[in-house]
Symmetry: C2
Subunit: 234 residues, 2 copies
Amino acid sequence: MTQLATSTERAVDALRELVLGGEFAAGARLGEMELAARLGVSRTPVREALTRLAAEGLVELSPNRGARVRAWTATELEGIFDLRTSLEPRLAALAVPNAGPEDVATLARLADEMLRVGSPGPGQDLDGIVPLNREFHGTLVALADHPALASALAGAVHAPIVLRNFHTYDEASLRRSLAHHVEIVDAVRAGDPEWAQAVMTAHIRNARAVMVRAAKHQATRQASTRQAGEQEAP
Amino acid sequence: MTQLATSTERAVDALRELVLGGEFAAGARLGEMELAARLGVSRTPVREALTRLAAEGLVELSPNRGARVRAWTATELEGIFDLRTSLEPRLAALAVPNAGPEDVATLARLADEMLRVGSPGPGQDLDGIVPLNREFHGTLVALADHPALASALAGAVHAPIVLRNFHTYDEASLRRSLAHHVEIVDAVRAGDPEWAQAVMTAHIRNARAVMVRAAKHQATRQASTRQAGEQEAP
DNA sequence: TCACACCTGATTGTGTGCAATCTAGGATCC
DNA sequence: GGATCCTAGATTGCACACAATCAGGTGTGA
């Protein structure tokens, strides 16, 4: 299942991972020729990949001016978290009755893994949490089995960007976030939708507090000292 | 503002209108060459238009097998209306404080127009409601000024499909729906977010009842007599 | 010295050709 | 007679070439 049929799909996936992995800074230009060379395909699949990722909200497309990695203002982030607050807890609740023992096991494994690689100390690997976290939330979304809700989230949250940077968490918030994952698993195991819903609400609000603070901080820093980074949004 | 810069954008808009206008049946095949000839461009912009509309959810793309107009099951429709119920009322409430006198005038004009062309009797033009309705809801979305919420709706509702067919309304539901529009305008004019929110909730639930019934009816009809329509989903 | 116009290099937008893949129909074998 | 294989036609996927557009730098004039 790893071997994808078309070059386009491979390009989409590769490019998505590149952006999600933080390979490109927010606002960085994405030249078609450069990407084509990097991915080993022609411009045609790259172009289609950019179109799809633009639809996902990962990149921004302006006519005749190419693609850039999407950047987010503090206001937009607040809106996104506002939305997540109203959607994801419901999703978690919906997931509970649909979760079988093996699903619980999967979620538990992911939560434990995140706890392991995320806890402060030697061996902490903040970048390692990102894919685990994505899979955790993705599993819940799949279990909820509500396509409309799922695509609404996908359409607005562009989750990857939001979930990308665990480096912005302070230690208390990070510990809390990791504990939430474990607690959600317990709620699912106990078959208690309202518990899961409540913890998920707290989980999102916690993340919101961290992200909004970080975005504001970043904004003021950019305003005061305009660093000459190689790639910058105009 | 009508003159779009690139052929691709023109192709996207033209194709969207074609699908929304019911030019193609649900599940109908959309050949690249056929569309290219019809729109007067080459396959390249058509191809890009198809990927964009696929991202919007209007068409479905399968590798090496081309594009088809997206079809919806009754379950999916229920999910979509479930979502709209939780998002659009909030959106209406958010729009209220941002609406100036000219916005109210615009909404009032649209509501009146819909009442005029939609009321049963001579001169009724059900197809004429569609663009007005889209503009009405679109205006509210814009006024709410909540990008994340807006794109969540856009991502899941694929509103056009849902709003496409006013022919499925029975007379009572249609009258009620048209009355809702007027009442929403009054709520906005009165500056009462909760009123607007409540009416919008009723509005969506009313539409939901009509659509879900229609979808189920259609499903049973298709199951019993498989009509040999020119275009059919396989 | 500043403002404006022009020009050039680079990048994107679009058209077209060829190879790969899929669908449909008929022939062959069991 | 039914199922399978094979072939032919059509369609999509991808690459490349050319045209259109944009950004940055340079030169000229006030």
